[in-house]
Amino acid sequence: MMKNFSTKLLCVGVLLLLAGAPEVMAAVRDTNLYWAPEAVTVTGKRIDVLLNFIFYLTGAVFVLTQAVYIYYLVKYRKRPGSKAHYSHGNNKLEIIWTAIPTAIFIGLVIYSNRLWGEIHSAPPENSVKVDVVSYQFGWDMRYPGADGKLGKIDVNTYSVDNKFGLVPDDPAGDDDFASTELVIPVGQPVHLYLHSRDVIHSVYVPAFRLYQAAVPGRTIAWVWFETTKTGDFQLACSQICGSGHYNMKAPIRVVTQEEFDKWQAGKIAAKAQEAKAAAAARETRQSTAALDPATGSARNSAGEKL
C-alpha cells in the first residue's frame, strides 16, 4: 500500500518536474490516472490540442520564471559583506513584461474564441436529435419517432404525467419515445436539447469534453457533437442540485450505426404498441362516457387532462 502511494506521489512529482516529456505523458495517459481520459468526440480532440498548448505554454512560463526566481534567491542570499543594489525599477523592463504577456493573451483569446465559435456552430441537418430532461435526481431522454421530428414542448407544462412537457396539439410528438440511457451512433452528429424540470443541472461528460448547464424554464439548443469511438460512458450532473446530486447519473452508450438503428427500431415499435393500447383504452373510455351524456360532455370540454 505504502509503495503504491509513493509510486503515485513520485508520478505527481515527476509530472510537476518533467511535464513536457512525451514518455511521461504517454505513461500517465496509459494509466488514465494523471491526465485526462481519452477524448472521443471531434471537438473534444480539438479542445485537447488547445488544452495541451496552454499546458505547455503555462508549464514553460512556470519553469522559466521559477528557475530564474530560485536562481536569484540562491545567488543573492545574504552573505557577509554583500550589499543590495539600489534600484527603484526599470521602465524598459516594465514595458517588455507588459507587452509580451499582452501579445500572448491576445493570441490565446483569438484561438480560444475561434474554436468556441466552431464548437457552437449550427448543428448539421442530419443530426440525431435528443431531448435531455434533467430532474432531481436523474435524466430522461426523448428521441423522435419514425417521422424524425421531436414534438414541440412547453417548459412550463412539466408534470408527473407529462415528463417531457409535450404540447398535446403537435402530432410530431405522438411517436416520440423515451429512454433512461443516452444511446448514440458513433460518427454521427448528435444534437442535444437541454431542459430541467426543477433546478439548474448540468450535462458533464469528461470524455466528450462537454459541459453545459440545463436551466429550468429554458431550452438550451446549442449543444452538438460527433463521437469518434464506441464505448460506455456516464452522463454526470456537475452542478450542485440538492442532496441527491452526488449520484445523479445516466449511462451513455456510443454504438455502431447498425446497433443504433436496431435499438431505435425496437423503441419505435414498442412505442407504437403502447400507443395502440392507449388508443384502445381511450376508445373504451369514450364509449363508456357516451352512455352518460352529462359526464361525457364534461370530459370533452376538459379534454385529455381529466
Binding site: 494523471y34 545574504k78 480560444s112 459541459y211
Partner: protein
C-alpha cells in the same frame, strides 16, 4: 494603566490627538468595546483564527468523506449534528452543508476579516502617521457586526433542516426554493442574513479606510509615498463599497424568495441566471478583494528582507488600480457554460485575458525586487517568497478556465478547486501568515519563535502542495466538485487512491496550523523582546514603540521619503525611515 474614566471625551482619532489623553479604560473598554484601531485589528485577528479552525475542521470533514465515503468519522463522528451525519456517517446532504459552510466561513469569516479587518485596522493609521481611524466608533461597530454575522452563520448548523447546503455560490432556484433542497429554509435564510450583516460590516470598514487614507495622512505622506499595503487596502476598500452592496441586495432578494413568495430567481416568473449575474458581479471583485491586500502585505515584506526598494513602485500601484477596474467586467467568466449567451461568453473571455496582464506585471516586479538583493530567509520572508510562487501557479491555472473551449472540460471539476486554493490559500493565506510573523513584534512587543516558524512554513508549504497540486490531476481525470462519493462513478474509481493521498496531505496541513497557533500563543509571554524596529524597516509603524500606545504617535510625524528606501548609496545604515531626512551624501533616486 489607571482606570480614570472620568474625563472621557470621544476619541476623535486625529493625528494631532493628545497622546496623554486616554479614553475609558478597564477590561471592557480595552478589550471588548474598544475604539482603538489597534485593538480592533487584534479583535479581528483573534476572531478570524477561531473561524479558521472551524473552516479547517469543515475541510477535514470534506476530505474524510471523499477518501472514505460511507465510513464513520473517527473521534468526532458522533458529535456531528443530525443534519450532517447519521451514526457518525456523513450524509450526502450533510456533505453539501460541509462544503457550503467551509467556503462561506473561509471567505467571509476568515480571509476577509483577517486581511482587511485585521491588518487594515492595525496598519493603516500607523502607516500613514495618523492617531486612529477617521471613525473609531464605526470601526468598533464594524467589528461587532462581523462577530454577529459569524454567530448567525454558526447558529445555522443547529436549526431545523441544518445549515445552507446549496454551495457558497447558492445558485437559484435550488437556494431560493426550500422544497428543492431538503427544506433547508431556515439555514439558507440565516445564510442570507449572515451575509447581509457581514456586508454591512465590510461597507462600514471600507468607508472608514477610504476616509482615513484620503484625509488623515501625515504631512509629506503623498499618495505616491504610501506603502503598497495601504494602496492595496485603499483599492480593496473601493471594491468592497462597489461590489458588496450587490451581494447584499441579492441576498435580500433570495431571502424574500425563500420566505415571502417573491419570484426574483424562480424559473416560471423570474430568472435563475439573474442570481448568478448578481452573485458573480460581487463574486469576481471579491476574488481581488481577498488577494489584493495579501499582494500589498507581501510587497511590503519582500523589500525589507531583500534590503532593496520594491521594483517598479508605480507599476505596482497602476497594476492594482487596473485590477480594480477590470475586476468589474470579468464576472461572466464564471458563466461560460451556464446558459448565458455564447457571444457574451466570448467577450468575457477577452476581458479575463486582459486582467491577467496586471497580475503578470506584479509577479515580474516581485522577482525584480529580489534580483541583486541581499536576502535573509526569515519566516515572514519565506511565506512572502512562497506567496509569489503559489500565486504564479494559481494565475497560470486560471488561464485554462479563461479559455472558453477548455472551460467546457474543466468547469466545476477539481481543477477549479485546485485553482481557487492556490490563489486563496497559497495566495491570501500565505500572505496573511507572512504578515502575522512580520507584524507580530509590533502587535505584541515580542518576536515569534523562528524555529517553530520555519517548521510551520515548511510543513505548510509541503503539505499544501501535496494537497492541492494533485487536485489538478483529479480535475483533468474528470472529477466533479461537490459530489459526496466519487466512487459511484466508473471514471473516478481509478482516481480514488489519489483522493486518499490528498486527504492525508490535508490532515498534515491541518496539523501544521497547530504549530503556528502554539507559537503565536507561546510567544505572547516567552517570545524574544522586540524593540521599536526589529526588522530595520522604513515605514512609520516601526518608529513608535512595540506595541504602540494609544494615539500612536507622540507627535505627528513628517514624511520626507518614499516607503522603500533600502541600501541607499552613501548612507551608513542600509535603510532610510520615511520620517528621517536623508543625510548629506545619500544618493536617493526617484521611483
Amino acid at each position: 494603566m489607571s482606570t480614570s474614566a472620568t474625563t472621557f471625551v470621544p476619541d476623535q482619532g486625529t493625528a494631532d490627538h493628545d497622546h496623554g489623553h486616554h479614553g475609558p479604560q478597564g477590561f471592557f473598554f480595552t478589550y471588548i468595546w474598544s475604539v482603538d484601531h489597534k485593538m480592533i485589528g487584534l479583535q479581528y485577528l483573534w476572531t478570524s483564527f477561531f473561524f479558521l479552525l472551524l473552516g479547517g475542521l469543515l475541510a477535514m470533514g470534506i476530505r474524510f468523506q471523499l477518501a472514505y465515503p460511507g465510513t464513520e468519522v473517527p473521534l468526532i463522528g458522533m458529535l456531528l449534528p443530525s443534519t450532517v451525519a447519521s451514526d457518525g456517517i456523513i450524509l450526502p446532504g450533510g456533505y453539501n452543508m460541509l462544503f457550503t459552510m467551509h467556503a462561506t466561513v473561509m471567505v467571509f469569516l476568515v480571509v476577509m476579516p483577517l486581511l482587511i479587518g485585521g491588518f487594515g485596522n492595525f496598519l493603516i493609521p500607523l502607516k500613514i502617521g495618523a492617531g486612529d481611524m477617521a471613525f473609531p466608533t464605526l470601526n468598533a461597530m464594524s467589528y461587532w457586526l462581523y462577530v454577529l454575522s459569524g454567530l448567525i452563520i454558526l447558529a445555522s448548523f443547529f436549526v431545523d433542516g441544518g445549515a445552507a447546503s446549496s454551495g457558497w455560490t447558492a445558485y437559484a432556484p435550488l437556494s431560493s426554493t426550500a422544497a428543492y433542497n431538503n427544506n433547508t429554509q431556515i439555514g439558507q435564510s440565516l445564510w442570507c442574513i449572515g451575509l447581509f450583516v457581514n456586508g454591512l460590516s465590510s461597507i462600514a470598514g471600507a468607508t472608514n479606510y477610504i476616509t482615513t487614507i484620503v484625509n488623515m495622512r501625515a504631512p509629506g505622506m503623498t499618495m505616491f509615498r504610501l506603502p503598497l499595503s495601504v494602496w492595496s487596502l485603499f483599492i480593496t476598500s473601493w471594491l468592497l463599497i462597489l461590489a458588496v452592496p450587490v451581494l447584499s441586495a441579492a441576498a435580500a432578494m433570495l431571502f424574500t424568495d425563500l420566505n415571502f413568495g417573491t419570484t426574483f430567481f424562480n424559473a416560471q416568473q423570474g430568472q435563475p441566471l439573474l442570481w448568478q449575474h448578481l452573485f458573480w458581479f460581487f463574486g469576481h471583485p471579491e476574488v481581488y478583494i481577498m488577494i489584493l491586500p495579501a499582494m500589498g502585505l507581501v510587497s511590503e515584506i519582500l523589500p525589507v528582507f531583500a534590503r532593496k526598494p520594491i521594483f517598479g513602485y508605480k507599476a505596482m500601484v497602476w497594476a492594482m488600480v487596473a485590477i480594480g477596474f477590470l475586476g468589474f467586467i470579468v464576472w461572466g467568466h464564471h458563466m461560460f457554460v451556464s446558459g448565458m449567451n455564447l457571444t457574451l461568453g466570448a467577450m468575457f473571455s477577452v476581458s479575463t485575458m486582459v486582467i491577467a496582464v496586471p497580475s503578470a506585471i506584479k509577479t515580474f516586479n516581485w522577482m525584480g525586487t529580489v534580483w541583486r538583493g541581499s536576502i535573509s530567509f526569515t519566516t515572514p520572508m519565506l511565506f512572502a517568497l512562497a506567496f509569489v510562487s503559489m500565486f504564479v501557479i494559481g494565475g497560470l491555472s486560471g488561464i485554462f478556465m479563461a479559455s472558453t473551449p477548455v472551460d467546457l472540460f474543466v468547469h466545476n471539476s477539481y481543477f477549479i478547486v485546485a485553482h481557487i486554493h492556490y490563489v486563496l490559500f497559497g495566495g491570501s493565506l500565505f500572505g496573511a501568515f507572512a504578515a502575522i510573523y512580520f507584524w507580530y513584534p509590533k502587535m505584541f512587543g515580542r518576536m515569534m519563535n523562528e524555529t517553530l516558524g520555519k517548521i510551520h512554513f515548511f510543513a505548510t508549504f509541503v503539505f499544501f502542495n501535496l494537497t492541492f497540486f494533485p487536485m489538478h490531476n483529479l480535475g483533468l481525470g474528470g472529477m466533479m466538485r461537490r459530489i459526496a462519493d466519487p466512487t459511484l462513478y466508473d471514471h473516478l474509481r481509478a482516481l480514488q487512491p489519489l483522493n486518499v493521498f490528498v486527504t492525508w496531505a490535508a490532515f498534515g496541513m491541518g496539523l501544521a496550523t497547530f504549530i503556528f497557533l502554539y507559537n503565536f500563543i507561546w510567544s505572547l509571554r516567552h517570545g524574544k523582546k522586540a524593540g521599536n524596529n526589529p526588522w530595520d524597516s522604513t515605514t512609520l509603524e516601526w518608529t513608535v514603540p512595540s506595541p504602540p500606545g494609544h494615539g500612536n504617535f507622540e507627535k505627528t510625524p513628517t514624511v520626507y521619503n518614499g516607503p522603500y528606501e533600502y541600501s541607499v548609496p552613501g548612507m551608513a545604515k542600509d535603510f532610510l525611515p520615511q520620517d528621517e531626512k536623508a543625510p548629506d551624501g545619500a544618493r536617493l533616486a526617484a521611483h
